[in-house]
């Protein structure tokens, strides 16, 4: 191996030194590029591109993972949109997203504004503290909240009771289970969005605030007339990012409720998991996967538009 490298170095034609053909894309550069690209392309082809096609094919079959499978046309898609039990998972996921997105943005933006105050004592400590939940797995976060909210021995439940709020067993309550799993997700992820907001806030030119102050604007007016418009692209970007994340909710639901009570927390990914890996209705699970794919695709395309617009704004 080292011997060939040695010979190659020795016999290199003088004309080749520094004179590698560029631009036109002759056979040598292409082969060289392929060598660099090959491992990644093989993996993406096998585990991303082929599965996308394969999932589409499976969604038109009654596959169970074993034995013969038959082409069933759109039957799986029809089943998703006509069976209330399955259709409801889309409703639950939408409700989840409708709670998660605004709550996360509000918490992230409020804390970003607080941390953006240059005069705040212990800014570094608070930034670390607020970001900490983001590095904790959703499963562990779920454990901590499960204990805090335990109906008998939960500390938070006890504190709330002492000020007259009786939550009861939130995870067994069909009305409170979904807000609870949303709360865990908001707690875990707001720090991530907060950091992005801080970066956005620091890009706002200070002169804008000075000008607004000279014009007699108070803090709230400065927020609505300077901060929010200047932050609008970041806001849109973050909102779609959070929506995409919300539509993939699974981990804390699996740990805390398993989709219950009465399927009130059964999200799309929970349903894909149960249909595809427990009940082995591969066809239906694949069709539901495609519904999730299309939702994500639409949101991503909107996000790309915002992203390009922001890049243009920065460039121009």
């Amino acid at each position: 191996m080292s011997a060939t490298a040695q010979t190659r170095r020795t016999y290199r034609a003088p004309g080749q030194l520094g004179g590698r053909p560029r631009g036109r894309g002759g056979p040598r550069p292409a082969r060289l590029a392929l060598a660099f690209l090959l491992p990644a392309l093989l993996i993406l082809a096998a585990f991303v591109f082929w599965p996308v096609i394969s999932a589409l094919r499976l969604s038109f079959t009654d596959s169970s993972g074993f034995g013969a499978e038959h082409f069933v046309g759109l039957a799986n898609y029809v089943e998703i949109f006509t069976t209330p039990r399955i259709l409801r998972t889309l409703g639950v996921t939408t409700m989840y997203a409708a709670m998660f997105t605004p709550l996360t943005i509000a918490a992230a933006l409020a804390l970003a504004l607080l941390l953006n105050r240059r005069t705040l004592w212990g800014r570094g400590f608070f930034r670390t503290a607020f970001f900490l939940p983001f590095i904790i797995s959703m499963a562990v976060a779920a454990f901590a909240w499960e204990f805090l909210l335990d109906p008998q021995i939960g500390l938070l439940n006890y504190w709330l009771q002492s000020i007259g709020i009786h939550l009861g067993n939130v995870l067994q309550d069909p009305n409170l289970a979904l807000p609870t799993v949303v709360l865990v997700a908001v707690w875990k992820s707001f720090g991530f969005y907060m950091v992005i907001f801080i970066a956005g806030l620091q890009d706002i030119p200070g002169e804008l605030y000075e000008a607004a102050t000279i014009d007699g604007a108070n803090a709230w007016q400065r927020f609505t007339n300077v901060t929010l418009p200047q932050l609008s692209t970041t806001l849109a970007f973050v909102a779609i990012f959070a929506l995409i994340a919300a539509f993939q909710a699974f981990d804390q639901i699996y740990v805390l409720t398993g989709g219950g009570p009465y399927r009130s927390t059964q999200t799309v990914v929970m349903e894909i998991y149960q249909e595809g890996f427990k009940k082995l209705d591969i066809g239906l699970a694949s069709a539901l996967s495609y519904v999730l794919l299309v939702i994500t695709l639409v949101l991503s395309l909107i996000q790309f538009r915002f992203f390009n617009r922001r890049e243009e704004a920065i460039a121009g």
């Binding site: 990644a40 608070f126 930034r127 970001f131 797995s137 454990f143 695709l297």
Partner: protein, 287 residues
Amino acid sequence: MSAVTVRSAARTSARPVVGRALAFLIALALAFAVLLPVLIIAVTAFKPPAEINAFPPGLVPTSWTLGNFTRIFTDLPFARLLGNSFLFAGGVTACALVFDSLAAYALARLDFRGRGLLLVVIVSSLMIPFQATLIPVYQLVAHLGWVNTFQGMIAPRAADAFGIFLLRQFFVSLPRDLDNAARIDGASEFRVFWSIVLPNVKPALLTLGIFTFVNNWNDLLWPLIFTTDPEMGTITSGLTLLTGPSGILPYGTMMAGSLIAVLPLGLLFLALQGRFIESVATTGLKG
């Protein structure tokens, strides 16, 4: 006249201090609320079961024990799970760093036909959530006989479009003169990549490394599906075996296990702090 001046001077100097103190107190209260779940994990892990199940509940333990930690190692194959987590998250991170940077280098700094199109195809695949392709990916891994193996867990994530895209952006921004000089000296393309270009993007590699390691260490759905043998699970998927719908939960062991699960990332985070948070901001904005 002078009294007015004094009062206004006092007000202007007192006001910022009052404002600062108020902001600090608000931040402190919020930090307590945010850190309460972390605190409860750290404290409960050292509490004896009798105290955990006592009413009214308290935050500070009156007696300390390591019993929960010994119990987690007998209730679960915990040392094994911990090792699996390091192998899985570390393996994915190492592979992804190598394969992503190789591909990103070709896309950023080599000229070949179809480069633009290939980049578009790779970037488009960013829009595909892994949850949507789980079933065919599982079928492929099963077909290869790789269920309950490390290669089965690592291979599907050994390269990813996001990492390629992120590193490409960094490679593109490096000046061309840097590697042309090396090429004139007769260095091979791989040498240019390895000893000239890569050392210049260390921050980007660290960013991608942190991002990949954290995501895989914390992931639940993936190890849940790709391992059926409890011995092959990760710490994250293994811990979920402790909880169930019935009866009193073993909170002591759950919290001891959680504390160990959080510790490696927590230490990494505290050691890197600013860099860690910056990494997330970069990956967040680019993703």
